[in-house]
């Protein structure tokens, strides 16, 4: 970033391959501006955590990255997001294809009211995978990938609604893995879960990191420091500081980041 902006040094540009990059993203909900000039580079096959007080725009930002905000009446994005260097807000972008590449795990587990099997097979079927054997294979590998296979392999035909909250959240992850995304966006995936289930999901993220680029929004700063390599701090719709996780937590450059990670507000 060539400009002599004072804020510029607070936003690190990670080394190595960049998977996702936003440049000057602003988000408006009707008249209300929820994001201001957010520019950040997300490294490939790493976990990037987004932290900040409630209502600062973390979820809104995440939803800009796979255009889920398109679904909200009155939401408008100004600025650009590049996936592998290509604009996802380009007119030619196939939004469904984009969301297949950039998968999302939501805050509350949201299994479809169908069987476990059909939940996982939902995505592949959408994208044209047919044939019993192929689907069986995808369902198994996705459930294994989400560390859920051993618990459900004898009851794949049971309703997904009968699973526990933690299992449902891992099912949501399996469901996303089944469409073979490149990026996983996770919006406070553990906020509805107990500590044991949270631990399992965190372990899982570290495993998934080998193959996927992960962006996780979290309210829990311990979680951010445990799982992520890079951390961004949001406040009132602005990205205040972005850098290596240990630096953000141990040696933040901005006063406001310091206050937040020491628990002085939010």
């Amino acid at each position: 970033m060539g400009s002599p902006d004072v804020g510029a040094e607070l936003i690190l540009r990670p080394e190595g391959e960049i998977k996702l990059e936003t440049s000057g993203v602003n988000l408006f909900y009707d008249g209300f501006q929820a994001l201001r000039e957010v520019s950040v580079a997300v490294p490939a096959r790493r976990i990037t955590a987004l932290i900040g007080p409630s209502g600062c725009g973390k979820s809104s930002f995440l939803r800009c990255l796979n255009r889920m905000n398109d679904l909200i009446d009155g939401a408008r994005v100004v600025g650009d997001v590049l996936l592998d260097g290509n604009s996802i807000y380009d007119r030619a972008t196939d939004v469904a294809e984009l969301r297949k590449r950039v998968g999302m795990v939501f805050q509350a587990p949201n299994p479809f009211p169908m069987s476990i099997y059909d939940n996982v097979a939902y995505g592949p079927r959408l994208h044209g995978t047919r044939g019993r054997e192929k689907l069986d294979e995808i369902v198994e590998s996705s459930l294994r990938g989400a560390a859920l296979w051993d618990e459900v392999k004898d009851g794949l035909r049971k309703s997904a609604l009968d699973l526990s909250g933690g299992q449902q959240q891992r099912l949501s992850i399996a469901r996303v893995l089944a469409v073979e995304p490149e990026v996983l966006l996770m919006d406070e995936p553990c906020s509805a879960l107990d500590p044991t289930a949270t631990f399992r999901i965190e372990e899982l993220m570290l495993e998934l990191m080998e193959r996927y680029t992960i962006v996780i929004v979290t309210h829990n700063m311990y979680q951010a420091s445990r799982v992520s390599q890079y951390t961004g701090f949001f406040l009132l719709g602005e990205l205040i500081e972005y850098g290596v996780t240990t630096q953000i937590f141990e040696n933040p450059k901005d006063r406001r980041t310091d206050d937040y990670v020491r628990g002085r507000f939010g």
């Binding site: 796979n66 939501f106 949201n110 479809f112 609604l161």
Partner: protein, 282 residues
Amino acid sequence: MRTVQRLRPRATQAVVFAGLWAAAAVVVLPVVGILALMFIRGGRALSWELLSSAEEGLLPAIVGTMCLVALTALIAAPLGIAAAVYLSEYARSGPLVRLIRLAIVNLAGVPSVVYGLFGLGLFVMLLAFGRCLLAGACTLALLVLPLVITASEEALRQVPGRLREASFGLGATRWQTVRRVVLPNALPGMMTGLILSVGRAAGETAPILFTAAFISLTKPFPSSALDPIEALPFKLYYMATEAHGVSEEVKWATAAALVMLVLAMNLAAVVIRARLRGARRW
């Protein structure tokens, strides 16, 4: 200064409860009263023979009403559900949608005799269906369309938004989301709304008066949708106003048959709803 002694909470509770109970009773009483009256006055005439006989009995009218109801549902369901899906899943809020909603509300307020005249003009005359089952069903379908749309929209609203999000998040298009997630989960609610709506249509006289109904002397059952039909509400209207030599008892029995038919449909709707509600927890 406290001149007015305030009621203690418990006393207030009792008064409120009594008031609410009375209000509920006022709703129930007429229903029970009407049913009792019909069965007391018409009960003796209400025999299997009356219901099942084609010449002397009500069978042609019962069959006619059932045909009307079925065809009405068949016409109104796809139109109403499609409109509801458009309005609540596709359309962005704007002047056009507001206009459509305004039209629906107003359509629901149009008196049924106006539908009857409109049906006469459009289906019977302009489209030259003639007075027949099809024209009557089309007219009734228009009449219930606002109800079907409203009920279907309500059923769509019951499907949690997070299921749509999950589907879109997996790369589904809007249509895939509607077809695979939204509709299957909204369909039970839509069916309930549909049955209740056409149940209302079953009892309507004015819309079929000019478009479909007749009193048959020679041909009690329609052989195609282009034949006129007998119908319970019309038969009742005819008996009460023009027919001579029909006993009071038979008139009451006819009314009872009509009410029972409508009640049976409502009951079916309630049962379907209860069943499916039991089966679903999200």
